[in-house]
């Protein structure tokens, strides 16, 4: 059963009861140990790979060297034949035959190293994928546990502080009301500010004699006198 299915079954099956774990702690520990083991194997496989690759390079260099030697000695044999020194040519040919045997051995070793390198590389890749997959699964289990424990802590906190989670609609209404109040306050503040600035503008206009100044006693008396006459 996949870990996903396991978690789903556990949650649906009521293992989500507060305080009860989805997967028992022991199983989680074993799983963590398995991941560590897999990671150790991976490290070892990588070390093996490095050493085999070194051997592969060395064998490859050796094969090249022998091939060069063979080519060189074939040249010598041709030169000996050109001098009609059959005996010398035969000696060189014998040496070449020995070299060819050695080449075959080295080539076989090289092939075998190459196969091993490919195999190890494949193994490392596979192990890396597996470790990543294990880690993802462990993370799922741990997250489920974490959320359950967190929920349990939150619930305990709420019941102990006597405050309870409100009905969603009521909460929204309250928040909206608060927002409205805040907006109203902002508007009122803006209004006040604009009134203040209106007042100061009026005062400036009066001072500049652009709008009429406040009425004073002498201007009133002047007006009455004007009416009488």
């Amino acid at each position: 059963m996949s870990i996903f299915k396991k978690i789903m079954t556990a949650i649906r099956g009521g293992a989500s009861e507060m305080g009860e774990s989805i997967v028992d702690a022991n199983a989680t520990r074993i799983f963590e140990q398995e991941i560590r083991d897999a990671q150790n194997h991976l490290t070892k496989a990588k070390r093996d790979l490095t050493s085999v690759m070194a051997q592969q390079m060395s064998a490859s260099r050796e094969v090249d060297r022998i091939k060069r030697d063979i080519a060189e000695h074939e040249g010598y044999a041709q030169q000996a034949l050109a001098q009609e020194n059959e005996a010398l040519a035969l000696q060189v040919a014998e040496k070449i035959a020995g070299m060819e045997n050695e080449l075959e051995t080295q080539q076989q070793a090289l092939d075998s190293f190459s196969t091993n390198v490919d195999r190890l590389k494949e193994l490392v890749k596979k192990s890396e994928r597996q470790v990543a997959e294990f880690k993802r699964q462990l993370s799922m289990v741990k997250t489920t546990e974490n959320v359950q424990k967190a929920t349990s802590a939150i619930t305990d906190n709420f019941s102990s502080s006597n405050s309870k989670l409100l009905n969603a609609k009521d909460s929204l209404e309250r928040i909206k009301a608060k927002q409205q109040k805040f907006d109203d306050q902002m508007k009122a503040a803006e209004l006040l500010e604009s009134e203040d600035s209106d007042a100061s503008l009026q005062a400036q206009l009066k001072a500049a004699g652009i709008t009429k100044a406040d009425k004073d006693a002498s201007s009133v008396l002047d007006r009455i006198k004007a009416k009488q006459s």
Partner: protein
């Protein structure tokens, strides 16, 4: 990254938030440390934050099973499922008998990422309750 460093950061922000929200943090102790984050003006809908090995999870509870109008339950579930992708950064969940929205962040997230997450989550929660109120009692 743990709840205490997050709390210290959010409390320090005070009025200088880039999100325009003022956060107040209160740790809740338990088997797992949880940070209760209230946002000024939205005290009724706190965000709960917990930190696990590889992620930071922020949860806001929406409503309980008993708040749903019975005959509209399936329609509500479908609406939630459909809204899960369009809703920025948050997804729906159900914990026990409570519906919730949550966001999960990498443990390597910056404080600014977390702040952003909290603001988006809170906005989403308000909007979701508003838009889904037709399904609720």
């Amino acid at each position: 990254m743990n709840i205490h460093s997050i709390a210290a950061h959010l409390n320090e922000l005070a009025d200088n938030t880039s999100t325009g929200m003022v956060f107040d943090c209160q740790p809740i102790s338990g088997e797992v440390d949880v940070l209760q984050i209230t946002i000024q003006g939205r005290e009724e809908l706190p965000v709960f934050l917990s930190v696990s090995d590889d992620q930071v999870i922020c949860i806001t509870y929406l409503w309980g099973e008993q708040e749903i109008i019975k005959e509209k339950r399936v329609a509500m579930l479908e609406a939630m499922l459909e809204m899960s992708i369009p809703m920025p950064l948050s997804a729906f969940s159900k914990i026990g008998d409570k519906y919730a929205i949550f966001g999960a962040l990498s443990i390597n997230s910056s404080f600014a990422d977390i702040e952003h997450e909290l603001a988006v989550l809170s906005n989403n929660a308000l909007e979701v309750i508003d838009d889904m109120s037709e399904f609720l009692i």
